[in-house]
Amino acid sequence: MQTRALAGQRGEHALFAGLDLQLQAGSLTWLRGRNGRGKTSLLRLLAGLSTAAAGDIQLCGHSQREIGPAWRSQLLYLGHQNALKDDLSATEALAFLARLHGLPASPQALAEALNRLGVAHRQHAPVRTLSQGQRRRVALARLALAVDVPLWLLDEPFDALDQDGITALNALLSDYCAQGGCVLLTSHQPLSLQQPEPQMLDLEPYACS
């Protein structure tokens, strides 16, 4: 993915401008910046959920003008919120999200995905009975199913995770990048990921006050 002179805004408030970035296959980029700098807005922009104030985005050869199903099939976006319904079981919630995005949703695939994130023992429990960390893991389990998607945009994926969870997610990210996937993520905590070496992208230079 690459952008040229991208400008973002929230309401009437200009957030950042002149952002040029290049994300290569197999790379992992850590998006940094203080609160309110527009990290989440940038991720949403790249995902196609909002429109840019100015500038250009290209994803795997598709231009931003063609934002539509083709664009969205190339990426996976994980927001702050888990997008899990309280009354569904973990498996059902995961199955829904998987089917929505055309990811493999067979019972084995789902069980395996939950297992990779260490919540397989709770797969039939209603989401409302899970702790915050467990819910985050269920939400992240989707990543285990989405290894064929070229780009992952993750907003605070390490939030609410304990050490085991962080290890599991690191393993997932490493495998994905090794296979040629591209990751752009934000995190308030320092990354403990070794492989691939995280590249930094700081929004401060692009910020409009």
Partner: protein, 231 residues
């Protein structure tokens, strides 16, 4: 790395959203039945308000049933997207690699099944309370069958436009009711015409035409409104 990864088919998105909404409603059965309860209670207020004189009740029955169906529909449609917005599901649904129309159609279908169909099922009983004749009851049910999907579609448009706003309930009603007036006129008018002994085929064909045109245009408008509201 494969080129284009997941492409979810229209049917897959439609089906999974619809099934999920129905499953969730089933697990909160009492909540799902609230619109119906409101409908019945509201209708019962009319005889209490205007008196039990049978002729008058029979005359105003179609209008009362339709207006209460309209209001019950509007009250239940407000939460169509709100819960999904709150927990982030709406965002994920809009990110599905498929046109958002699949999502909007599924949501409207779920709403119709959950609030429109119970209304249609209850209408004959209500009609009996008001002393309506057989053919009139049939006309009422047929009209509701054609009209309640229209109300679901229009209501969904209102819900999408007022998503996340304060006092969105009242705002939604104010926006949608004028648009729903033709449906009300044809639906209630059909019963009145049948009661007067004439054929109501004109009314039904107009209702049908309204349904078709709304079903063609509204999903697109609802999808556009959702994107506007979540930007």
């Amino acid at each position: 790395m494969t080129q284009s990864a997941a492409r979810a088919s229209f049917a897959a998105v439609f089906g999974s959203v619809l099934v999920r909404d129905l499953t969730l409603a089933w697990r909160r059965r009492t909540d799902a039945l609230l619109p119906l309860a409101f409908f019945v209670v509201a209708i019962s207020l009319f005889p209490l308000g205007v008196g039990p004189e049978p002729g008058m009740l029979r005359d105003m029955a179609p209008g009362v049933v339709w207006v209460c169906a309209l209001l019950a529909s509007m009250l239940s449609v407000g939460s169509l997207f709100a819960a999904d917005l709150a927990d982030g599901s709406l965002e994920q649904m809009l990110l599905a690699p498929q046109s958002a129309i699949a999502l909007t159609l599924a949501k409207c279908a779920a709403h119709w099944i959950l609030s429109g169909v119970p209304l249609i099922a209850t209408a004959p009983l209500i009609g009996l309370l008001f002393g309506m004749s057989g053919p009139a009851l049939l006309a009422l049910v047929a009209g509701l069958l054609l009209g309640t999907p229209i109300l679901s579609l229009l209501g969904a448009l209102g819900a999408a436009l007022t998503l996340g706003l304060r006092s969105s309930g009242m705002l939604l009603i104010l926006i949608v009711l004028p648009l729903a007036i033709p449906t009300l006129i044809f639906g209630a008018g059909a019963v009145g015409t049948i009661d007067a002994g004439m054929s109501a085929s004109g009314h039904f064909s107009l209702l049908g035409a309204l349904l078709i045109s709304t079903a063609m245009g509204a999903p697109w408008a609802i999808a556009a409104a959702l994107r506007i509201s979540t930007e």
